[in-house]
Symmetry: C2
Subunit: 430 residues, 2 copies
């Protein structure tokens, strides 16, 4: 596609991220923000809190990128090394910024007072002074928590490094100031528009999508030659096709969209960037409809997901976690006779749960889940992975699905949540 796109590399620091004690949310967030600015991100390096590994990762990313962003390692403890190692890699000396240290100390004193910490001020001051060491020639980004961010140009004229704190609640608000800084501005000014479009499908297997893409390429030629970078992913049963392209390739994307629409029709539930959650929330808000849940195997995950977004109290009134059979009876009125006759994991009980939840809270819809999440509890008749879901509606009707989910306990529960929300979506669309 003509000119080389502007590329950025991300370095996520922290042994806790490398080993999974903390899930990285910064790499993906930064990759999306950079993409929106027309900057391409090809890789992220996650590195532990070791001086040498961090230096190697920075040099690797600096070698073939126009900009490098780091997250984490700016705290007060000695294993927080990022500022120091970035300074060294960029050929910059560090010095204490006295004003910055005073500002950080003031912030920490505020925290300490609100939370009644008994830590001696001298101890807190040492931490603040560590966090106020700034590489020569760097731009300081205003702290959101206690850690300032940095933009560190290379002494030798190479790519600049943007150093951001690890907590997403500090990193995200700092982003605007980072991209407004002169060294970052200079890079972004060279970027050109990079569009992204997503097609989301619920129903068919991945193999069918692979086939549809092959058929399209047979007719229209290879996607990459047409200027489309297409990636597909399967996530809890949902298929997602993401295309990235320069404005010139918009026509080729239109052709791809037409091919997939012809093949998958109504199985495409969004092609405008909206997620399943967006689609469900929009319909509920638009119609002023409400939801209640009754969950067994998912034990609150459906309700919690419905409450993920701000303003969800407009449609989520409440729910029931009916984990034990007694709870199914006490909370949503499933009769012991029905439980004995069909078992807790059955169409009949799923439907009774959905009806019960709806009636107890007087909502438009009642959503239920009951299944064998495993690893124990499976039988020949009702194996691990068998799930029943139902959606009850005010007119007395109940939609039902039976699922067989492959995977571990967590996978069964996640996939059940997604299937339940799709059943709600499909029921609303009737």
């Amino acid at each position: 596609m003509g000119v080389r796109p502007i590329r950025a590399g991300i370095v996520v620091t922290g042994t806790e991220v490398l080993t999974g004690r903390v899930t990285d949310r910064n790499g993906p967030w930064l990759a999306e923000r950079l993409r929106e600015l027309g900057v391409d991100v090809g890789r992220t390096v996650v590195v532990g809190d070791r001086r040498e590994d961090l230096a190697t990762a920075l040099r690797f990313q600096l070698a073939d990128h126009d900009l490098v962003i780091t997250s984490g390692g700016l705290g007060p403890t000695a294993d927080d090394l990022t500022a120091e190692v970035v300074a060294q890699v960029q050929g910059r000396a560090m010095a204490l910024d006295r004003d910055l240290a005073d500002r950080i100390e003031e912030i920490v004193a505020g925290y300490a007072a609100r939370r009644s910490w008994t830590t001696p001020p001298e101890i807190l001051r040492q931490g603040s002074e560590k966090q106020a060491m700034v590489p020569d020639g760097a731009v300081v980004l205003t702290p959101i928590g206690t850690a300032p961010g940095l933009v560190v140009p290379a002494a030798d004229g190479g790519a600049a490094v943007v150093v951001l704190p690890g907590p997403p609640s500090e990193l995200q608000p700092m982003w605007a100031e980072a991209i407004a800084s002169a060294p970052v501005r200079a890079v972004l000014d060279r970027a050109s528009e990079l569009r992204q479009a997503e097609i989301r499908i619920w129903g068919p297997p991945e193999a069918e999508l692979a086939a549809a893409l092959r058929v399209h390429e047979d007719a229209h030629g290879p996607l990459d030659e047409a200027g489309l970078e297409v990636t597909t992913c399967v996530r809890d049963g949902e298929l997602e096709i993401v295309s990235r392209f320069a404005p010139e390739a918009a026509g080729a994307y239109g052709d791809l969209h037409a091919s997939l629409s012809a093949t998958f029709g109504e199985q495409i539930y969004a092609d405008d960037g909206r997620s399943l959650d967006d689609v469900v929330a929009e319909v509920l808000l638009e119609r002023g409809e409400t939801v209640a849940t009754a969950e067994s195997c998912t034990a609150g995950l459906v309700a919690a997901r419905l409450a993920d977004r701000p303003g969800s109290s407009a449609y989520l009134l409440g729910g029931f976690v009916t984990y034990a059979n007694e709870a199914k009876t006490a909370e949503v009125g499933v009769s012991t006779g029905l439980l004995e006759a069909h078992g807790a994991v059955s169409r009949e009980v799923a439907e009774a749960m959905a009806r019960g939840a709806r009636e107890r809270l007087g909502t438009t819809y009642g959503i239920s889940t009951t299944g064998v999440a495993g690893p124990g509890g499976g039988t020949a008749d009702k194996p691990v992975g068998l799930v029943h879901i139902a959606v009850a509606v005010t007119d007395g009707s109940v939609a039902h699905r039976e699922l067989f989910v492959a995977g571990d306990r967590a996978a069964v529960r996640r996939r059940t949540v997604v299937a339940a929300l799709h059943l709600l979506r499909a029921t609303m669309a009737r």
Copy 2:
């Protein structure tokens, strides 16, 4: 310290991981398994589905590691490139393994039958044949789903690459066969024991931990010189200190443990690898006690977390998602008078919710959460981040905490879940 430890590098592939549409669970899982085998992992590279970026990432990891593990990119679609690029980087030609293709085709046919797919067999066969292309000299790992894994030795005698599928439910069961393969065995035989110990603390700020570590180093000398690699992390208010060390440094770890115990005492809630969830579940199981929840701002997350582990039905009977005020009244009997007098986010309502949940289901404990998760809904009196949690007990007593949580909506909810479980833990320990 002496001999250089065996090091492995991880490459996680997939644009969907790079951009956060799918959260990587493989990098952390592999890092922990390798650590248990005495293999050190210093960095993970996350790379999109592009031939060149993947090749660069593989070469970077191969350059200074004894073993490289990849996850993902083994599916039937054309953007699944891993096997092909690994073969190229390792200097190996690819050929169709006819037997393997037949085996995969049979697996796919089984899926298709169980799920009533209408995909033509020819289409499915093309996908199977793509997945059965094997680099010359590679060990094939038995498919768990449809994708086989591979162990690909380098033609030039360099480090081998272990190629594993992306879905954790396929990757994890394949691990045993991967490490039993001759090329991996040869590397692991050179590894020596690498211990890991975790100290988990609830209560004090990170600055206090930083200070305690400094005081310890003043008395005992630098941790790294004593052979301890110590990393600290703060996660939803919990402090975690992870130490890695060779057996020779066990004494130095004992000194560190003693220092932290002297400083933090009962604020240390686990020092034997157990998580908060482990501690709570063990006490409940041991005593045969039960729990019910009543959740407002967390909307099911506390119940769902209590149900995370197999066998949780022994202690989690059920719960209530009391999102709207009407639900607080209808589900757990919070009086409208109380709601009007104190507001939904108040000590009084949190206590009434906890009592109501416990009484409705006749459990030992009732746990409640109510708070302003934001971003809207805050007032001068009750700002975003204000949360009340409570735990009711059979003797009629109720423990209560008021929290002020910094961060966004998701952070407030996550932190509330952790605080609620700690309040349960502390209440049980009384």
